[in-house]
């Protein structure tokens, strides 16, 4: 197996009773990258993370994390990773500082080292002011940050984040995104699961789309968009007559149409030359096209194309990927 990989999995299968949760999952994650497993609820994301973080054993297949086999070398895997799951893994009745110091002790630090590490992490995660307050008084975002900090006490080289922003308000999500970006910049490998398309788009070097216990696609965000849902030139026509005329003339070349909005979409590679040529072809008199939009595929489109259903949640600000211009 390849030593440049932080995570490598081959043919992972897992069933609970008769319910098959994973049906053959292969993964390769390069060291120092941010990898996102994207999929709706029930796709098998959490089970994958649990197998890779040694909490659950696979029925079939094998996996190596940080260079060690998750089944045979589980103790060494555990010393190289950290897992921040969906449920906050900190004690509400302890203060933020006490939680981190406890984790430090459990990671083999001395009392003084644990104290120093806790202080440093509380500063880094903007929790210094709340260090001596019980976690029960923290906001959701603060709790999630503490949770993540607790996972970093042992200097892991691979960090698993299972839906790190689910249930957070937009501002706290932005905060978490900054934290993940910072982690990636520091050289650790981040493996995160999410059901939010824009999150994967923002953070991940590579994305694997998961649905029904299988990976249905894998690649960079732009690769996925190009491969599974190309760009489109959407034209808004001046009136109904023009709409019918253009639609009739172009026939099967129309990739998308919305009669109610007088909108016709044509495939394009997005270059200026191609857009200009299309406009000239459709509207040589420069009179029937009122406006145009180059529709860059979003992960929504990818997801829809791949799974046949829309992502369950989380289309937020990503729809800004459209450039609009008047003719």
């Amino acid at each position: 197996m390849d030593d440049e990989l932080a995570v490598e999995a081959i043919g992972l299968h897992k069933s609970y009773g008769k319910v098959s949760v994973l049906a053959g999952v292969d993964l390769r994650v390069a060291r120092g990258s941010v990898f996102s497993l994207l999929g709706p609820n029930g796709a098998g994301k959490t089970t994958t993370v649990k197998i890779l973080s040694t909490l659950v054993s696979a029925d079939a297949g094998r996996a190596r994390v940080a260079g060690f086999d998750v089944a045979r070398d589980r103790h060494r895997v555990r010393r190289a990773i950290s897992l921040t799951g969906q449920h906050a893994a900190v004690d509400e009745l302890q203060t933020g500082e006490e939680n981190l110091r406890m984790m430090g002790r459990l990671c083999g630090l001395s009392g003084a080292q644990a104290r120093g590490k806790a202080t440093a992490l509380l500063d880094e995660f903007d929790l210094a002011d709340a260090a001596r307050r019980r976690v029960a008084t923290y906001s959701g975002g603060m709790r999630r940050r503490l949770d993540l900090a607790a996972g970093l006490v042992g200097n892991p080289s691979v960090i698993f984040l299972d839906e790190p922003t689910t249930g957070l308000d937009p501002r706290s999500r932005q905060g978490m995104w900054q934290v993940v970006t910072g982690l990636a910049a520091s050289g650790v490998t981040v493996f995160l699961t999410t059901q939010y398309l824009d999150e994967a788009d923002q953070l991940a070097d590579r994305i694997a789309v998961m649905d029904g216990g299988r990976l249905v696609a894998e690649g960079t965000s732009s690769e996925l968009k190009t491969r599974f849902a190309g760009q489109r030139l959407d034209l808004t026509l001046i009136d109904d007559g023009a709409y019918r005329e253009v639609a009739g003339r172009l026939g099967g070349r129309v990739a998308h149409s919305e009669p109610g909005r007088l909108l016709i979409g044509l495939p394009t590679d997005g270059t200026a030359a191609h857009v200009r040529a299309l406009l000239d072809e459709v509207d040589p008199e420069r009179r029937t096209v009122e406006r145009f939009t180059v529709h860059t595929a979003t992960l929504d489109d990818v997801f829809l194309a791949l799974t046949g259903h829309e992502a369950t949640a989380g289309r937020t600000a990503a729809d800004t990927e459209k450039e609009t211009a008047n003719v």
Binding site: A89, M102, R134
Partner: protein, 267 residues
């Protein structure tokens, strides 16, 4: 939020190799801290035995003939009752812990089930030491006058500690078995009733014949008899050995069960 500084980076993981013992100590410190902060639960655990003692001494005591002053007879029993009830709270704290996300984190940090559970057990022994002293103090106030040598006091404390240790491990196993803290709580009631068919509150000889077999041969009776004998300066025969054997057996079986249940619950 401030930018993450580079020093967080990929230094080789963690410091020195820890031992299971140091993990267990850290876990004990955690559980002690958590229980100090659950004041309501702590107060219930401290108050209930005292209420019960006052109930038996003042309300029932006048009607119960035990050959000595009833307070002298019942206080050692109340100490055991209180220890049994106190032990049963381990089931609840363990079940609460299993429900949160922190167990998964501990496991992904390579901290074993025994260390986590040992933290609960040792913290519970400490809690019980406190409540025992309190009950003993109130016992003195209502007229309990033991006649024990220093060695006998030590022996009594030892047996009681062993009893709490054993039943705390048993409770921990029940806590792992129970699906929820609420279900685990029910176990407390079971342990509260176990002392009744024993010599805890009244001599077994006063009970109907068919229950003698159970009452004489259940673990509470030798513990109570040994404790009572030691505190009152009476001969105890083999009761102390029976008590130790029961406690050792229960501890052993429970630790094994705890290991298996922890693996099953978290697999």
């Amino acid at each position: 939020m401030s930018e993450l500084a580079a020093p967080l980076a990929v230094r080789p993981a963690t410091g020195s190799r820890r031992s299971a013992l140091s993990d267990a100590l850290t876990m004990t410190a955690r559980c002690v801290r958590l229980s100090r902060r659950q004041l309501d639960a702590l107060l219930t655990m401290l108050m209930l035995p005292i209420m019960l003692m006052l109930l038996f001494v003042y309300l029932f005591g006048g009607a119960i003939e035990t050959g000595t002053r009833y307070v002298t007879y019942v206080v050692p029993g109340i100490l055991v009752f209180c220890a049994g009830f106190g032990s049963s709270t381990t089931a609840v704290t363990v079940a609460q812990d299993m429900r949160g996300g922190i167990i998964d984190r501990f496991r992904s940090m390579d901290i074993g089930g025994p260390a986590v559970i040992a933290g609960h057990v040792v913290a519970n022994v400490a809690r019980n030491a406190m409540s025992t002293l309190l009950v003993l103090g109130v016992g003195f106030l209502v007229g309990f006058r033991p006649h024990a040598s220093g060695l006998a006091w030590l022996g009594a404390a030892g047996i009681l500690a062993l009893f709490v240790f054993a039943f705390s491990w048993l409770s921990a196993a029940i806590g792992l078995l129970a699906g929820s803290p609420e279900a685990a709580n029910g176990f407390g009631f079971f342990l509260m009733f176990l002392p009744y068919p024993s010599s805890t509150f009244v001599p077994v000889a006063t009970m109907p014949g068919w229950i003698h077999g159970f009452a004489n041969n259940q673990p509470i009776t030798p513990v109570v008899e040994a404790l009572r004998g030691l505190l009152l300066g009476q001969p105890i025969g083999n009761q102390a050995w029976f008590a130790v054997a029961w406690c050792a057996g229960i501890t052993l079986v429970s630790i094994v069960a705890t290991g298996a249940l922890f693996r099953r619950r978290t697999a």
